[in-house]
């Protein structure tokens, strides 16, 4: 029986990484929000690797943080190890990565949700979304509750028609033996959404006490760890190590001998898996000439002996998994705690979404996270934040909030999702961003805090911190640009000689001097030219000086890029009416319905000539309009 259970502005379905951000954002923007999820004990569960961050992903977390999202703060509370990777490869691709205590992360997030004003939590399974002529109107749970609402954000992750596969054992299920959501998919299809099926997998977990670490290489954390959130101060806690080992020819022989039982190859698995995250059996087959694949053994938490084996994601039969483990140096006597598995699930084809993550077909219905065909906690959280913000704006009757590719990785992620055809689960990479040098993790706050403030997600505390930082950066920049040294200056000459740096010929500013690779900003502090600033300020200004040439070049490119992004295409355009478009362009434009000429130009099958045709069509419309209504 269905009963009327209440009324909310925004309802978020699913309390994974996307759902948590969505619910918090909506509630913080002052709308009444309900977060409904299958299991309150598994809020913000990390079903796969116990780490967050890395290239592109760390940038995402920093952007979420700058906009007033939660993930960065949670990581800073729940991490057990922090490392900055790619340090030698340049400031824009440097990335923080944290090993996380999974349970602690869940605990912190659950607490944050419970403490949040305007937000209610409910355990239950959403089975249907109802609509009326204005779009989304209500959702219904398996236990018969009907909640009216103005907007819905679905963040159901890998749970829709979830199917677990371990060898020839196959059963319906969500990750980690959670139960799957079996009806919501059907309801979405009925609303006209087209759905696809993807696959992903996870490695077995093992007991720390049974591991021989003497055969492995230790991977400790950084000595002076950075934080993810611009709000956090450096932590003062013990860091745990990860361990590096590898597979052997024996391991590979075991896998090969059992390929006839591997669902990846027997046709049992039909969903498409990600190439950047292949199963171990895939690696053995496709890189047959390799004798070893590296494997990282990572703690799942501080208070548990369970450990994760990065690199060994598999759906081989359980007995084979055990043999595989025994063949790995250090794991000869290992005890397996959880079996690795593959999971297949339904996703919503994301080209049906607008940049706000609202479905084009159903007004007020938003989707975010793995349901949109992405993978990864960070990708999920970023979309959750944007969907939550836009759901709140929708019920408030305000225009949507979107970000461009040129200002954020979030913009790259969402634009890719809604514009390009998806062939495998989507993961963000730094190489997907055209303006990588501008989209650094160190300047995410400078890029986005003001925007977060405008939409009301940036607290006074964050705002003041930001303003103080910004003015310090300005001050230091000015100082460096104004302070000059001359060849007659003994201090600098001596310093340059000691650094084996060429002597200066003319008067030169410290800013210019800083462009030399061998000159570091700390040197100016040591030489007493400038005051001691916080490390983040010094880092920021040093990057701005050292990479100024590259950065300015990208800025120019961005200006050109944004001209096309800022040229809107009206929502109600009928491409069939546009004279001169190629038929392929017509079809793809009709399907993807780009919001700007810029987005249109990135759609497959749309040529520069088609773009010209579109421009002329729009101009024609404009003139007709002007003619009819005057200027």
């Amino acid at each position: 029986m269905i009963y009327e259970a209440g009324k909310y502005d925004v309802i978020v379905i699913g309390a994974g990484h996307a759902g948590c951000e969505a619910a918090l954002a909506a509630a913080r923007m002052g709308v009444q929000t309900l977060l409904i999820t299958l299991n309150i004990d598994t809020i913000a569960l990390m079903p796969c690797n116990p780490s967050i961050g890395g290239p592109a992903k760390a940038q995402l977390v920093r952007e979420i943080d700058a906009l007033g999202g939660e993930m960065g703060i949670m990581i800073d509370k729940a991490n057990i190890q922090i490392r900055m990777i790619n340090t030698a490869k340049g400031p824009a691709v440097q990335a923080l990565r944290a090993q996380i205590d999974k349970k602690e992360y869940q605990k912190e997030m659950t607490k944050t949700l419970l403490d949040q004003e305007n937000l209610d939590l409910l355990m239950g399974e959403a089975v249907a979304v109802e609509t009326d002529d204005r779009g989304v109107s209500a959702i219904i749970t398996r236990t018969g509750a009907r909640f009216e609402c103005g907007a819905v954000v679905i963040t159901s992750g890998t749970y829709l028609q979830g199917r677990i596969i371990i060898g020839d054992v196959v059963y319906d299920g969500g990750p980690g033996n959670q139960y799957p959501a079996t009806e919501l998919s059907q309801s979405l299809k009925k609303l006209g959404l087209s759905m696809g099926r993807f696959k992903t997998g996870t490695p077995p977990r093992i007991d720390r006490k049974s591991v021989d670490f003497s055969k492995m290489i230790e991977q400790p954390g950084d000595e002076e760890p950075y934080c993810f959130s611009f709000m956090s101060d450096p932590p003062d806690r013990e860091q745990l190590s990860c361990w590096l080992t590898h597979s052997t020819t024996e391991t590979h022989a075991i896998v090969r001998a059992n390929l006839d039982r591997a669902p990846m190859f027997t046709g049992v698995i039909q969903g498409k898996g990600p190439r950047y995250c292949p199963s171990f059996e895939d690696k053995v087959v496709h890189f047959a000439n390799r004798d070893a694949h590296q494997l990282f053994i990572e703690p799942e938490g501080r208070d548990t002996d369970e450990m994760y084996i990065q690199g060994l994601n598999t759906s081989l039969p359980e007995d084979v998994q055990v043999q595989v483990l025994y063949s790995i140096p250090g794991l000869e006597n290992v005890k397996m705690i959880r079996t690795g598995y593959a999971i297949e699930y339904d996703y919503v084809v994301p080209s049906q979404l607008k940049p706000s993550l609202e479905c084009m077909k159903v007004e007020g219905l938003f989707t975010a996270g793995q349901i949109n065909g992405t993978s990864g906690y960070e990708e999920a959280a970023a979309q959750g934040l944007i969907a939550g913000i836009n759901a709140a704006l929708k019920v408030k009757g305000q225009p949507p909030f979107t970000l461009l590719r040129s200002e954020s990785y979030i913009g790259v992620l969402i634009d890719d999702l809604i514009t390009k055809e998806l062939h495998e689960p989507y993961r963000l990479l730094t190489s997907r961003a055209e303006y990588r040098l501008l989209l650094r993790q160190d300047n995410a706050d400078l890029r986005l805090t003001e925007k977060g403030r405008e939409i009301g997600l940036v607290s006074d505390e964050r705002w003041n911190r930001f303003l103080a930082k910004k003015s310090k950066i300005e001050a230091l920049r000015n100082t460096l640009q104004q302070l000059t040294v001359t060849p007659a200056d003994d201090t600098i000459s001596k310093f340059l000689r000691a650094r084996k740096s060429a002597p200066i010929r003319d008067r030169i500013s410290l800013w210019e001097l800083l462009r030399r690779p061998e000159v570091k900003i700390e040197n100016f502090v040591e030489l007493d030219y400038i005051d001691q600033y916080e490390k983040e300020i010094l880092d920021q200004v040093e990057i701005q000086a050292k990479y100024e040439g590259y950065i300015n070049k990208q800025r120019e490119q961005v200006q050109r890029f944004e001209k096309l992004e800022n040229k809107p295409i009206p929502e109600d355009i009928n491409y069939q009416d546009v004279y001169g478009l190629s038929s392929e362009a017509k079809q793809n434009l009709q399907e993807i319905r780009p919001v700007s000429i810029g987005q249109a130009s990135r759609i497959g099958g749309v040529s520069p000539a088609d773009i010209s045709v579109l421009l002329i069509y729009l101009e024609k419309k404009r003139r007709n309009y002007e003619h009819e209504y005057g200027n």
Partner: protein, 472 residues
Amino acid sequence: MYRLRAKERVVKAMYRDDIVALSTPPGESGVGIVRMSGPDVIQKAAQIFQPYNPETDITKKAGYTLTLGWILDAHGEAVDEVLLTVMRAPRSYTGEDVVEINCHGGLLPIERCLQRCMDAGARIAEPGEFTRRAFLNGRLSLDQAEAVIDIIRARSDRGLKLAMQQLQGKLSEYLEKLEERLIYANALVEASIDFPDEVGDPDYEELRQVLQESQESVERFLAAGERGELYRQGIKLAICGKPNVGKSSLLNLLIGKDKAIVTDIPGTTRDVIDEIITIRGIPVQIMDTAGIRETEDLVEKIGVRRSRETIEQADVVIFLLDVSTGITEEDREIYASIDQERLIVLVNKEDLEDKEISAQELEENFGLLRVIRGSVKEETGLDELEQCIEAMVLEKSGSDEGMEIMTTLRQKEALLRSRDFIVSALQSLEQVPLECLSVDIHGAVEALGEITGKSFHEEVLDRIFQEFCIGK
């Protein structure tokens, strides 16, 4: 209702860069118009143009004024004598500032004039871009919109076809190799950045080698273009006449004059391809050279199918007469067998005393044809001959010639940019962080993509997953 969200964001503001195009290809008169449009074109023109009157400053000139002068090359030498017209926004075809340069020389000077505009910072216009700008800037009326679209479509489709045509054969082989190497270089760098755990630091030695190979390919590609052997199809030229009229001598002269003779085109054997020379920048293939070389008289072979075919295939046939022998029966026979539209009559040996061919006789026999008098020995009449050949080529190729030049220049520009990026990457290898290196490599790949209109992003990713074992 049509929702006009950004009326204030005028379309005009979108395209602010300067473009250049050959708007009228040189016709028989040999005059071609190179047109630049954009906010800064008058300034750009001033950089490459020297007025006759040193007092004249074209940047100060009012709209629709003409100035005579020279286009200068990078060293300040005159490329061509031109008539330059300044038009000021909004009273011009595109509604922007426009500079029109009326060149007269042949194709080569026009190409160089375009090149100079590019050197000054203008970019080669996309097919139909002038028309599009004209419309978007309100210079064409509403009811012309569909016609504008037709023009743009036609030009782009034709341009694409031309680009493809030009990229056939050897050129496409170079291109494929170059693409493959660059994509691999790009994959090496990006894999190391995005998958540091699995891939580690890139192997710089390998990277250097891949980049060097890329550079070699791009240079080979460019050289092929310089020789003209592949960019433009050029024309086929046959020389005929009775024995001893001076065919081999003329051939040797033409070949001797052109130092850039190509005889070792890879993949082709010498006796098949004949000699290729350039005449006024046009690649010219001289047919059946072997025949002439062996002093086998074409006359004797008239009636022999092969020779007739040779002449039929030729775009231009030079028919030699000997002024000292007069017009003989033999001459008339040969003449009768050649399609007149493609014929140039060269009356040779004008240096000799006894002239048996009078102007009147020529008029009577070849009245409507191009007739040139000269001497191969003294090298007179050669300029006229070349001019004549060029004019015939232009006639033959009609308006496509302009587009071909444009396509060629666009491709060349992209190739040069690609090469510069590769060179810069090689120089900064190991000196700058990987992500800065990636800017260059990426730039090289992108520039290459412009040639074929491809975007290589997905291919780079494919390559990463194919080469490196990535994943948890």
